[in-house]
């Protein structure tokens, strides 16, 4: 299957890429291409121009200094291989292991995943739980968008059409426990449901909880009812079970031929319980 014809530009700077995007409304960014190229082959996307970011050095690299800054073009494979990232944010490595397959992980990028906002992506939920933000550059300059404000609808973010996601910033974990649990679709490997949890403890009490759900809703979102049920409590099996039971509260759940909305709700509660338990170190 060939995609529709398009013009191809290999940008050498973010400014050049932004210039092409602002001048041509039919232009799209090409990162790893593992969501875009399949969509183009199926004619779900027919951009007139592709702007390839792969030769822009400033979009690459991982810096860990308490928190972390990850270049948008960092591949899943590079996330998996980074010992520094794994030691500061263990959930980044455990998640990389369950994205796609080894060949897909060699090409797919973190920036691409977040900018695409696929409802069944893994890192959307993980970055929400880690309280990450993305740095973007457009014709109006640079700005930072919190993950909480980034995902706004199915395959839709709050980025402007001429903005490019350049890097991802993650605040220091400060000893937080973290986990990501996923029920993968047996054929595609995408998340039928995934739940990411980041918990901070103060003495025996939970001082902060961020729980994010993917796969079940139109875009990755927080499970605020369960978060509120954990904060200020000592974490024991009963408390975790009670909070996990609320993990699907208030979420508008999608159903499809593989999994009904009710089943996805159940998976959210089951996976939340496992992920909270792991993050709490129990």
């Amino acid at each position: 299957m060939y995609p529709n014809a398009f013009e191809y530009h290999r940008a050498t700077s973010v400014e050049e890429a932004v210039g092409i995007l602002s001048a041509d409304p039919e232009a799209k960014i090409l990162a790893g291409g593992h969501s875009l190229i399949p969509a183009m082959k199926l004619r779900l996307a027919m951009p007139g121009t592709l702007v390839d970011l792969s030769q822009i050095d400033s979009l690459k690299g991982i810096t860990v200094d308490g928190g972390a800054t990850i270049g948008a073009m960092t591949t899943y494979r590079q996330l998996l291989d980074s010992d520094e990232l794994a030691s500061a944010f263990p959930v980044i490595r455990t998640t990389a292991k369950v994205v796609g397959d080894p060949a897909v992980r060699n090409r797919g990028t973190l920036g691409g995943a977040l900018a695409h906002s696929d409802p069944a992506a893994d890192y959307t939920a993980v970055m929400l739980a880690l309280d990450a933000s993305v740095n973007v550059t457009g014709s109006n300059g640079q700005r930072t968008i919190a993950a909480d404000d980034l995902f706004v609808d199915l395959f839709t973010t709050s980025m402007e059409p001429d903005e490019i996601l350049t890097s991802i910033s993650i605040p220091a974990a400060d000893g937080a426990g973290m986990a990501y649990h996923k029920h993968a679709h047996p054929a595609s490997g995408y998340a039928v449901v995934g739940v990411a949890v980041v918990l901070k403890m103060d003495g025996g009490t939970c001082s902060s909880a961020r729980i994010a759900v993917t796969g079940a809703t139109s875009y990755a979102m927080r499970a605020t009812a369960a978060e509120q049920a954990l904060v200020g409590k000592a974490l024991d099996a009963d408390g975790i079970a009670a909070a996990a039971a609320m993990a699907s509260d208030g979420l508008d759940l999608n159903g499809d031929v593989y999994a009904s909305a009710d089943y996805r709700g159940n998976l959210i509660r089951v996976l939340a319980k496992r992920a909270i338990t792991e993050a709490a170190g129990l």
Partner: protein
């Protein structure tokens, strides 16, 4: 008469394929797998699902296993590509190829080039894998006739000799 359709300009790409520098003009939409099969005539790399699920099209790009049905030839400009045709040396099969022969790792053979290219990349990173690790490494490669038992045995056979 329909209006004349003007195709976007072709782009010249150069890449080293199985050790030989190959330069050609391609349409930007040309997939790497079609470039390899149709322009270079190397038909050992297969197109299976064409949706990056099955792994029949796996080749090495700068040493990493990738699905060539989901990469544009223009993205591989300047890269080093290794296909199944480039694995044997001086008429000697690569140990993974030999393993598939010895342990009957194939029936119809359609998935085999991708299975072998994935396995060769994997064994470079993990020369002494457990059975579980081998099965995980094959997550992105589908076989629809033998099942996976003999494929796993073939890779174990090769790991013992690499």
């Amino acid at each position: 008469m329909a209006d004349t359709v003007v195709a976007p300009a072709k782009i010249t790409v150069s890449m080293t394929v199985n050790g030989k520098l190959r330069t050609a003009e391609v349409e930007p939409r040309t997939l790497l797998v079609h470039f390899i099969r149709e322009q270079l005539g190397l038909t050992g790399t297969h197109v299976g699902c064409d949706t990056s699920s099955c792994g029949a099209c796996v080749v090495h790009l700068d040493g990493d296993g990738v699905k060539s049905c989901t990469i544009l030839a223009v993205q591989a400009d300047g890269a080093e590509i290794l296909t199944i045709e480039g694995l044997s040396k001086d008429g000697q099969l690569h140990p993974v190829q030999e393993g598939f022969w010895e342990m009957h790792g194939l029936q119809c053979g359609y998935c085999t080039p991708g299975m072998i290219m994935t396995s060769v990349a994997f064994l470079k990173e993990n020369p002494k894998p457990s059975e579980d690790e081998i099965r995980h490494a094959l997550e992105g490669n589908l076989c629809r006739c033998t099942g996976y038992q003999n494929i796993v045995k073939s890779i174990q056979w090769a790991a013992d000799r690499l």
